[in-house]
C-alpha cells in the first residue's frame, strides 16, 4: 500500500557470499551438481550456514531483498527511461521492451 510516496517491494537479488548477512532469506533453493537440494527456498541464513557455503566454494546466492523506492527515485528513473529510449520510439524491437521496463518500474513503486 502506498504511504506518503514510499512503498516496499520484494525483489530477488544475487548476492556474493562475502556480502550475505545472517537473517537473509534464500530466494531460490541451493542445489548441488547432483541435483540434491542443500538448502530450501525460504531458508534463513545463519552464520554457520554461510561459512558452510563458503567452504563448499559457493560464490553467490539468490536472496529476497526489500527495496524502498521514493517518489523522487521513481520519477528520476522514469525520466531516465524516456531519455534512454528517445531515439527508438518507433523501433519494433524496443516498443514492447519499453512497455515491459515501464511496467516493471511501476510494480516497484
Amino acid at each position: 500500500m502506498v504511504k506518503q510516496g514510499r512503498t516496499i517491494t520484494m525483489t530477488i537479488k544475487l548476492v556474493s557470499i562475502s556480502d550475505v548477512q545472517v537473517g537473509m532469506e534464500l530466494a531460490k533453493a541451493l542445489v548441488n551438481e547432483k541435483g540434491m537440494t542443500l538448502s530450501a527456498e525460504g531458508t534463513q541464513l545463519t552464520a554457520s550456514l554461510i561459512s558452510r557455503f563458503e567452504r563448499m566454494g559457493i560464490e553467490a546466492v539468490y536472496i529476497h531483498s526489500q527495496e524502498q523506492m521514493s517518489e523522487e527515485d521513481y520519477l528520476a528513473k522514469k525520466l531516465h527511461i524516456e531519455k534512454h529510449f528517445s531515439k527508438v520510439r518507433d523501433d519494433p524491437f524496443f516498443i514492447p521492451l519499453k512497455e515491459v521496463i515501464l511496467e516493471r518500474l511501476e510494480a516497484k513503486r
Partner: protein, 282 residues
C-alpha cells in the same frame, strides 16, 4: 579528429602483446582438432599442461556468474560437455577480460549480462546450442576490449563522442577511428582460428541482416545486447539506445511475457555484478 591507420592498427591487433600465450595455444588447439586420431582425452591432457590456463578456464566454467551447468572438473570434461568450439571461445574469454582496466569494467559486466540474456532467449524460444551462443555472447564485444587496451585515450574520446552526439558506439568508432569494434572482433577471430559460429555473432551483432551464416545466433546475441542495454547495462555509461536491424525482431520475436522472464533472470545478476570486477572471479 583524424582516424587511425587501419592497416597499421590491424597489424597491432594481430600482435597483441598483452595476450602472449593465446595465438600459439590456439594454433596448437586447431591442429589437434583437425587430426581425427587425437582423442578428446588427449587434447584435454595436452591443454591441461598449461596450469594457468587450466585453472582460469575451470574457474570460469564453474563460476555461478557465468551460469554453466554443474561442476566441471577437468579440461577433458569441459570438452566432452561443451564441445571444441565452446572451449576455444572459453580459452579466449578466460584470457581477455583479465587485462581490462577498471574504467572498462562496465564492459565486462555488460558481456556477462548479455551471455545470461542470450541463454535465457535460447531457453524461452527453444533455440539449440545454448553453450556456444552463451560464449559468443560473452565475446561479442571483444573488439572493444582491444580498443580499451591498445588505444585507451582515443577510445575514451570515442565514448564521449557517442554520448554527446547520441549515436551508437559502432557509428562513433567508424567516424573517429575508421573501423568499428565488430571489425576488430573479426580480425581476432581470423587470427585465433575461431569458428564461424563464434565469429559471426562477434562480427555481425550490429548488422544482423548481412550475416550470411548462423544468422539466428547472430540475432540472439544482438537481441540480448539490446535487451541488456535497455535494462541499463550498457558497456559505456551514457550511450542511449539506437534503432536496431529489423532482422532481429523477425528472427527473435519476443512477447512481453518472454521479455519479462528475461528481465527476471538478468536483472538480479546485473545488480550483483555492480560491485565486482573480472579479477574477483578470475
Amino acid at each position: 579528429m583524424a582516424g587511425i591507420d587501419k592497416t597499421a592498427f590491424r597489424k597491432k591487433v594481430e600482435r597483441l602483446s598483452n595476450l602472449p600465450t593465446l595465438p600459439g595455444l590456439m594454433e596448437r588447439f586447431a591442429e589437434m582438432i583437425q587430426d581425427p586420431a587425437t582423442s578428446m582425452a588427449k587434447i584435454g591432457e595436452e591443454l591441461g599442461k598449461d596450469q594457468i590456463l587450466t585453472s582460469k578456464l575451470l574457474k570460469l566454467v564453474n563460476s555461478a556468474f557465468y551460469g554453466f551447468p554443474g561442476r566441471i572438473s577437468t579440461l577433458t570434461h569441459a570438452l566432452v560437455l561443451l564441445g571444441y568450439d565452446a572451449v576455444k571461445g572459453l580459452i579466449v574469454t578466460s584470457n581477455v577480460f583479465d587485462e581490462l582496466n577498471p574504467t572498462a569494467y562496465p564492459l565486462w559486466r555488460h558481456s556477462i549480462a548479455i551471455s545470461r540474456a542470450a541463454r535465457t532467449i535460447c531457453d524461452v524460444l527453444k533455440i539449440p546450442d545454448q553453450e556456444e551462443i552463451t560464449i559468443a555472447a560473452l565475446l561479442h564485444d571483444i573488439g572493444k576490449i582491444v580498443l580499451h587496451i591498445e588505444v585507451p585515450d582515443e577510445y575514451l574520446k570515442t565514448i564521449d563522442y557517442a554520448v554527446s552526439n547520441e549515436i551508437p558506439m559502432w557509428k562513433a568508432e567508424r567516424e573517429m577511428l575508421g573501423f568499428d569494434h565488430a571489425d576488430i572482433g573479426l580480425w581476432l577471430c581470423d587470427k585465433w582460428h575461431l569458428p564461424a559460429k563464434l565469429s559471426k555473432p562477434i562480427g555481425y551483432h550490429h548488422k544482423c541482416s548481412v550475416a550470411r551464416e548462423f544468422q539466428e545466433r547472430v540475432a540472439v546475441v544482438a537481441a540480448a545486447n539490446e535487451i541488456v542495454k535497455a535494462l541499463g547495462g550498457q558497456a559505456e555509461d551514457g550511450v542511449i539506445l539506437s534503432p536496431t536491424d529489423p532482422t532481429i525482431s523477425e528472427l527473435i520475436p519476443l512477447t512481453k511475457d518472454q521479455l519479462n522472464e528475461i528481465a527476471d533472470r538478468v536483472e538480479p545478476e546485473m545488480e550483483a555484478l555492480k560491485s565486482i570486477g573480472p579479477k574477483d572471479l578470475a
